[in-house]
Amino acid sequence: MTNSINEFDEADLFFVIGSNTTAQHPLIGSRIINAVERGAKLILFDPREIPLAQFATLHLKQTFGTDVALVNGIMNIIIQEDLYDKPYVQARTEGFEELKTMVARYTPKVVEQITGIRSSELYRAAVMYAQADKAMIVYAMGITQHVTGTDNVKTLANLAMLTGHVGRPSTGVNPLRGQNNVQGACDMGGLPGVFTGYQRVNDPATVKKFEDAWGVSGLNPKPGLTITGMMNAAHQGTLKGLYIMGENPLMSDPDLTHVEHALSNLDFLVVQDIFLTETAALADVVLPAAAFAEKQGTYSNTERRVQLAQCAVSPPGQAKADWEIITALCRRLGMKCDYACTEDIMREINALTPSYGGITYERLSSGYGLQWPCPNDTHPGTVFLHRDQFTKGKGSFLPCEFKPAAEIPDDEYDFTLTTGRIYYQYHTGTMSRRVDLLEREAPEPLLEINPEDAKKLGIRSNDVVEVESRRGSMRIKAEVTTRVPKRVLFTTFHFKESQVNRLTNSACDPVAEIPELKGCSVKIRRCS
């Protein structure tokens, strides 16, 4: 997030796209609800009737996978109506003319054809966003899990820059992170192309810095593989061994048949997790890991806030904290790796990661954490990003053309299946499905289908239906509801009883290689 969570309380308008905020980020959702009650506006873009829709000033239901066209259309209106922030564009950005030329092609009529959103509503949304004093864009996986995920994000950034809605309090672009420490995992270099703090592995000065610090030479400057890339490599037999930590790809990755083949094609699979997951059950070696309350360490949350957590209970059995397992493994491989405690590791992070320079245990233990960038011991941390200039100086407009989703419904596979999450279950259910109360609240998977479609197909609520894509099929109970529009089906990936990722498409965004989990084409029939 470029903003902090507290900034929601001062914003005048929220542009929420691809985020079921009250279900997945309920405390941030509650900030939006409170803001609407005090008079703030909410523009919601979501094909589904999510709970936040009840609070929306304007709810627009775009066709799946058409976000680039939608936002280009909004920018076109803003430019045509002269509502963009000229001084901001002049002083802080570059590439405006190219943007203007490209988005000019996205006239309201064209956008209506692509997205299904009426020009009058698109116009209203554009004017409301541009004229707001303090507007925040909020998004989640509904924006990123598409073959155009990167383009979607760039296009939202274009919109924020065009209107000067970034770099001031309560204005910004806010991807809500889906896990308590996914931000931290990325910050620590849990990505193929970067060291900690997003320092590139192919930058010679950075490589030299890490080589010196670790007393090694010849660090590989080539970015590694993404998860989807690893699965493809394993499938092809070019990747032989895989060490998976805290991830359950046999439930969470697209096209599970492909994943099954990929994992079984490996020579050696190690899984480190707190429970024996579906993936761990396939492993040659399982390394039992300590859970959150069984170890000390820091978490970096969605607002870039690093917080220290203490160990409350000892890990059971042979379980160990992740860092202990990794360092023990490193030592056996001949590396020095002699950290005595997590604070030792943090000292190394402080020394090698400019944005974490001042985030020390000493400071973390006497407050509510620190938000990066926090370059030194006296820096108070950063509430919002891009205050006077962007990281690279001037912000570049990166106009993107609309590209359709990888799979478009046709005569045979005539529905779009989209996947997401529900309030009571978490991810692949490894943890939440072991909690009795949560199981009571959400005990089984349900497939949302619109009443008109259901009627045509003779499907009633609680009927078992079979859903099939080009990759696989599943059986699941139907829930007939107006929450989904016609020709759209929705379910979650929490339940092993109905593995929706047997059906999903592994087609990926070309840059981030994130799979298009938000839409694939399927057919559906009622089981007799």
């Binding site: 309920p26 509650s30 609800i33 409170n34 006497s366 009795d436 109360l437």
Partner: protein, 340 residues
């Protein structure tokens, strides 16, 4: 009636902690005060309303009620001599209300065991803990009337100490507790009580709302509005000193072994009232919120109220913590002032 110098209190509690598992205010490094196992280094007498009421001493968040081991059954009511040091009168009333509920028409052995094991030292309030306190409205404070072992009244550098039980009397019998033998002792105590009573404002909407509910109920739009924005976190129930609902589940620990556990539950979850057929008599969040608040303000049991006015003890925590402002104060105001 006795006196003790405030500076002598830590040593006394330290002494008590050798006999009892003492839960006492503890100042954390981030400035927050929680009730935790007594630790002289973090112990403080300068604390405000802690975020959680002391109910988990009586009704733990989760507790094994029996275990099955090697085919045998082990009853697992846990015994530990415990002292709650420095709880507030509202929370003490909450304990008494829950105790009544758990003993009125059946003997909940687990709750009783914890109650029998626990000594209560109430720290009477001299002023509101924060802006959401309304104990004087519901007659649950600012000081305890009965059911405590020891009660402390703030007299500046000293506490005036009142014993409420024989155990309490024994505990304060010796030095550093000293006699408070002045002629006007009870007058002085009354003055302290009176000042405290007057310092905590009355929230008249509570009684107004109770009246409206008795007269036929609130406007349904109140519940619909609140139900729409409730995010179903259950936080109001977890921080409530008088919420007593629990769920029971079985956990297999290994082949042939397991335990039956009871854990906090909340009536705000749909599954709490969903029937086996799938039918739910409280089908919407609006109806679930209505039920919870009517239980506190209308359908309470007179016996369970103890000395208080209703099933809410006015601690104000639901108003402090609800992320979307559906605390008792907001609810009674919505009802009484016909906001929605």
């Amino acid at each position: 009636m006795k006196l003790i110098a405030k500076k002598d209190v830590p040593a006394v509690v330290d002494q008590w902690s050798k006999t009892y598992a003492v839960l006492a205010p503890s100042l954390q490094r981030n400035g927050e005060c929680i009730f935790d196992t007594f630790d002289r280094a973090t112990f403080t007498l300068e604390y405000r309303k802690p975020s959680m009421p002391p109910k988990s001493t009586y009704l733990p968040q989760s507790e094994a009620i029996f275990q099955v081991k090697d085919g045998g059954f082990i009853h697992s009511a846990r015994h530990e001599k415990t002292m709650l040091f420095g709880i507030r009168a509202c929370d003490h009333t909450g304990i008494r209300q829950a105790r009544s509920f758990y003993s009125r028409d059946m003997d909940d052995v687990y709750h009783r065991c914890h109650a029998e094991d626990t000594l209560i030292v109430v720290h009477a309030c001299s002023w509101p803990q924060n802006e959401t306190c309304f104990c004087t409205t519901v007659h649950s404070g600012p000081y305890a009337k009965e059911g405590f072992d020891i009660q402390l009244f703030d007299m500046g550098t000293d506490f005036l100490v009142e014993a409420g039980s024989d155990t309490g009397r024994e505990l304060i019998a010796d030095a550093p507790f000293r006699a408070f033998d002045v002629d006007d002792a009870s007058e002085r105590l009354n003055r302290v009580k009176h000042m405290a009573l007057n310092s905590i404002p009355i929230v008249s909407e509570v009684t107004d709302a109770m009246e409206i509910l008795r007269a036929g109920g609130a406007n349904e739009t109140v519940w619909e509005h609140l139900g729409r924005k409730c995010i179903t976190c259950g936080g109001c129930v977890y921080v409530c000193p008088t919420c007593t609902c629990f769920t029971v589940y079985d956990r297999v620990t290994s082949e042939g072994n397991g335990e039956r556990v009871r854990a906090w539950d909340t009536c705000l979850y749909a599954g709490f009232t969903r029937e086996a057929s799938g039918h739910n008599p409280r089908a919407s969040q609006a109806l679930r919120l209505k039920r919870r608040h009517e239980h506190k303000l209308l359908y309470y049991n007179e016996t369970d109220n103890q000395d208080a006015l209703c099933g809410c003890v006015g601690c104000g925590r639901c108003s402090d913590y609800c992320p979307v402002h559906i605390g008792t104060i907001e609810v009674v105001k919505a009802i009484a002032d016909h906001i929605y």
